[in-house]
Symmetry: C2
Subunit: 328 residues, 2 copies
């Protein structure tokens, strides 16, 4: 009997979860739920039901785990507590500062509903967080660094698109090589925002738009760009589609710590990702978390969880014996 997964929201992330489910024989995609008109949504997989999100009021018996693929700004703060009352749910809530409040709201709902809700799955938060945690436990006397990129930031790309005269844009976050190398060597520099990452923008201007003004508005934009060294390249729409269609990303979590009676030895732990497709990788993490949520729910657990609370073996389709024999 396969674990029946529902997906709410069929954008890039929902499609990433769908393709991950196809790679895991113990999971099956039971239905896609959408706030759009269901007949306008065509899934990549044959024979998958597409239902209105309203149908979630009535199909509790047909879905073992519901994977919420909405955004962190407005969708998930509402959806995760709402659906955690009736479903085991997974989300990728990634507004770091609001995680404690989100966890509390989801925890209450999931406990009342007797369901398991795993929040903030993906790679950051998610796999990067896990590696920050493990490294912090092993090297308590140490310092953490997280570098992102080279990769497309959707939020920064959207911010550029909102500038007048911009037809389309793609923004890459790029770690500063010298900073990354210094940390990898075991040094523990104090790095400003500007010293850690640069931002590279590829912009399609509308016909007749003032490119000098657009560039100025980008590089001086508070929060998004003003604290970084930002370069802006104006390109044609054809070039954007040809050279910047993908959603690659990645980065590194590095912890440098001291051990020994007098802190005389330096130890460096690094976890790094090089991703051709950010949403497919995130979707793959969500699929593994769905398996774990199902198991924890079967055991009678309930409430909000994060990857910090999940015994790693619960994420795997393999048995304990197989894991110990082949991966330990």
């Amino acid at each position: 009997m396969k674990i029946r997964i529902g997906i709410l929201g069929y954008g890039n992330l929902g499609k990433g979860v769908e393709s991950a489910i196809r790679q895991n024989p113990d999971l099956e995609l039971a239905a896609v739920f959408t706030r759009r008109a269901p007949e306008t949504v065509k899934t990549a997989s044959e024979g998958v039901r597409v239902l209105s999100a309203d149908a979630l009021e009535t199909v509790q018996d047909e879905i073992d785990v519901l994977v919420l693929c909405g955004g962190s700004a407005t969708d998930l703060p509402v959806q995760t507590p709402l659906y955690a009352r009736h479903y085991n749910v997974i989300d990728s809530f990634d507004t770091h500062a609001n995680i404690p409040a989100h966890f509390a709201a989801v925890d209450q709902a999931a406990r009342e509903g007797g369901r398991v809700a795993v929040i903030s799955c993906g790679w950051d938060p998610g796999m990067f967080s896990l590696n920050r945690l493990y490294a912090d436990c092993i090297l308590p006397d140490g310092k953490d660094y997280t570098f992102w990129g080279r990769g497309v930031s959707q939020g920064h790309s959207d911010a550029i698109r909102r500038i007048e005269g911009v037809a389309d844009a793609r923004q890459y976050t790029v770690p500063v090589p010298e900073a990354l190398e210094a940390v990898r060597r075991g040094e523990t520099p104090e790095l400003t925002t500007r010293q850690k990452h640069t931002r590279e923008c590829f912009v399609v201007a509308k016909e007749g738009a003032d490119k000098a003004r657009i560039e100025r508005e980008i590089v001086t934009m508070p929060n998004y760009f003003s604290d970084y060294d930002t370069t802006v390249h104006f390109i044609s729409e054809e070039e954007l589609l040809r050279d910047h269609a993908g959603l690659p990303h990645g980065g590194s979590v590095i912890r440098t710590g001291k051990t020994g009676l007098c802190g005389e030895h330096t130890q460096v732990i690094e976890y790094s990702l090089k991703l051709d497709s950010n949403p497919e990788f995130t979707g793959s993490v969500l699929a593994a978390c769905a398996r774990a949520a199902y198991r924890m729910s079967k055991e009678g657990q309930s409430g909000a969880k994060t990857l910090f609370d999940i015994p790693p073996a619960y994420l795997s389709a393999k048995s304990g014996e197989e894991l110990r024999a082949h991966l330990l």
Copy 2:
């Protein structure tokens, strides 16, 4: 109230556990147990009791977790099941092929004793295993690579020391840079043993020994060297002590996988370690596992466990709230 740790065996690893305990304010070193005459053992920490291993028959109430710091060849197969009947125990059993049998023996003893026994902690097995597991869950359609080094292999150093005419030796395991880079680029080459690692030996010959014969015996030694490209450098004892006194190690676990409807995207996950001191890093992992074992035992769990079974948060001295607020 601190978690009271006992250490059995005060060699490099035992000393590594001792220095790790000093970095973790919630842990305290309650006693060191030794098979040597206790009065001949002087701990680095002041005021720590050194007791005969025989005392373990009577001090159950004074030790919350016993960390076994013996070797995998002969010590741990006996010690871990023996002491798991009376103590929560941690070991670093690392003979990969024998892990299933060791787990079974320890599991039975720990269940009968109502204790928690975490086996095969360290970095490989241990953190490398965990990263193989996580990566396998996320990228089921993929291929794993483990590279070790550059670092000192104690087993290979010992093998050289057993050759007639050798006074002392240090062997470094070195990953082949081209192989490592190919895997990091996302390629999935089939690599022979020889293509993955080389072995570099620094040997102090006894006065008048036949160096040509020693070198021949090293490079042709089955299992240890004959499958590798091995270089041998004869050096003086002074040079060995000056340049090769440390026990550095490290390596990388890399998994390359395909995602997407047609496997069209390549994703690369890498976990890597650069360790100035192998025993201190291993000791630090064991100390974190001791904390987790104590917690699992307090919850009423028993039996053999590995890092695969431990919710990551159990390894940390920090609360769930702190972890979610600062590391997620």
